[in-house]
Symmetry: C2
Subunit: 318 residues, 2 copies
């Protein structure tokens, strides 16, 4: 089967076995075609190329796609802010009619969640929360063994819940969204706020805004830079409070942190866990595991997108 | 079947048909017995009395209980702050062994949610959120046709999510919980805050704290009292923002407001809806219905507790 991780910049197409082994993959620029049908043609050509390399040993049984604003329920991409093609894009029906196999889509965070559930550290868990920390904050909720989709397939937008109603401007048009604080750019915004608020010396003071990344802040924090450390502490506080709220609502057994910012390890895990515990009601304290992904360097979104096919086929047969 | 609404003050036992008709009910003081086994004996005696009045026309097939901190998964009440009996109370097993029928329990908000789903305005809905506004704020989430329980059965504690991390003290020990703002006592706290912040004249200024209730504030607001009106506006703002966050996470088709404070009608519905819409991402705007309960003056918790039995039996047969 094919798993496709469609991002605003790159699209990764992988051919994956039913055991979660990625046989081969190829990456191309998502938006090189002026119209959406060009993207569809490109995907089909790439799948064809990849299949050729496998010498007919495998059969394509389905395609799963993780796409921005992808709805599992309608099979469409709807008003994705990061794509040049606007409105409603019938991705599932177009790919399916041309390839002759079922095509299932969901958003990128949900795809990664399924990857963890089928092939990673969440195997066997029935209730867990998956948080991807990258250029944004995405989330997927698994409830009673199923991905929580909601009435239109758009559930799981934790990144756009408001944590400070008159806080930082968000790309979505709202203010104070969680991802304006907890994401790689959010960490950078926090570092700059701290540079202006404090008078502490910091290696960050000799860098431009463009030259500061989450990775740089992590490096400086490990070297003892107080401002960089405080930036992680603040990020962990906001995330910890948000996760305590999620626990009160969903009562999961574990929460996973995945994606670029989670690679900072204890710099982000330790303050997040501490503030989460501090903000939990007694009934939930010291019960919820905060874990890193078990997928390591594997492409969780490609694996998860391919896992969508099993989910989709299982639901159809219910 | 029997539906039991067990509250900190009163317990209502009702005998209910499978169509949701409450044949008879009886209320007693929950905590009159010094030990928990006395409560169990009282429930059994009341069910016996009520059955006698029906002249053997009906058979008791099961008992459902909505109880504070009741876990559907373990059948126990765990550390309920409002009960004199502390620790873990094995309600389900004790009642079941003495009555010889299955006994299912959940918390009171979940019971009311099931009442609305089986017998009220949520019939046919697969994804909705139910909010009870009384002395606290309870909530139940229905996802894909099932009550969201979480790993231990304690999901749905929206009232104890933090909306202002350093805000009002809550009875649960935390600060800034949603129910310290959005509940009957929360409305009163807001009115007093406004009386101290503003210099507006208000009929509330001649009342003591104990003599102000949500009902009184509603009456004054309808008579044009500016402070009372502002108290509802503020309550609706906090609730609207919280509900917009819930929509982003769960993508429900409708949200119901139930319980004492919701009887204030447009005083609470209008500002809540306005602030919810204002805080929704474009993808969710103008889609989510905000509705009153369809159960009117019926005892939703008793009906819902009885509906637990169908839920429980259906799950056992899966």
């Amino acid at each position: 089967m094919a798993g496709i991780d469609m991002g605003g910049t790159n699209t990764v197409v992988g051919l994956v076995t039913s055991h979660g082994e990625c046989l081969c993959e190829k990456t191309f620029r998502t938006q090189e075609s002026p119209d959406f049908s060009g993207f569809i043609d490109k995907v089909i050509a790439v799948i064809g190329d990849l299949k050729k390399g496998l010498d007919g040993k495998y059969t394509l049984v389905g395609v799963g796609v993780g796409a921005p604003n992808g709805s599992y329920i309608t099979g469409e991409i709807i008003d994705a802010p990061n794509l040049r093609w606007k409105g409603v894009l019938p991705l599932s029906s177009e790919l399916s009619s041309k390839l002759g196999v079922p095509v299932f889509i969901t958003n990128d965070a949900n795809a990664a969640t399924l990857g963890e559930m089928h092939f990673g550290a969440a195997r066997g868990m029935k209730n867990f929360v998956y948080i991807t920390l990258g250029t944004g904050l995405g989330s997927g909720f698994v409830v009673d063994g199923n991905l929580l989709l909601g009435s239109e397939g758009f559930a799981g937008e934790l990144g756009h819940t408001s944590v400070k109603p008159s806080g930082r401007k968000c790309g979505c048009g709202k203010k104070g969204c969680l991802e304006t604080y907890v994401s790689a750019p959010g960490l950078r915004r926090t570092a700059f706020k701290l540079l202006s608020d404090s008078i502490l010396p910091s290696a960050l003071r000799s860098r431009t805004y463009e030259n500061i990344s989450a990775r740089v802040i992590a490096e400086f924090a490990l070297q003892g830079d107080k401002v960089a450390q405080e930036a992680f502490e603040y990020t962990g506080e906001i995330l910890g409070i948000a996760l305590a709220n999620v626990v009160a609502m969903l009562n999961p057994e574990a929460i996973f942190l995945f994606g670029g910012l989670s690679n900072a390890g204890n710099l982000i895990f330790e303050p997040t866990k501490r503030h989460m515990e501090k903000n939990l009601s007694p009934i939930f304290k010291n019960k919820v595991k905060l874990l890193p992904s078990g997928l390591g360097n594997k492409n969780a979104a490609v694996l998860g997108a391919s896992a969508l096919i099993w989910e989709g086929i299982a639901k159809k047969n219910q």
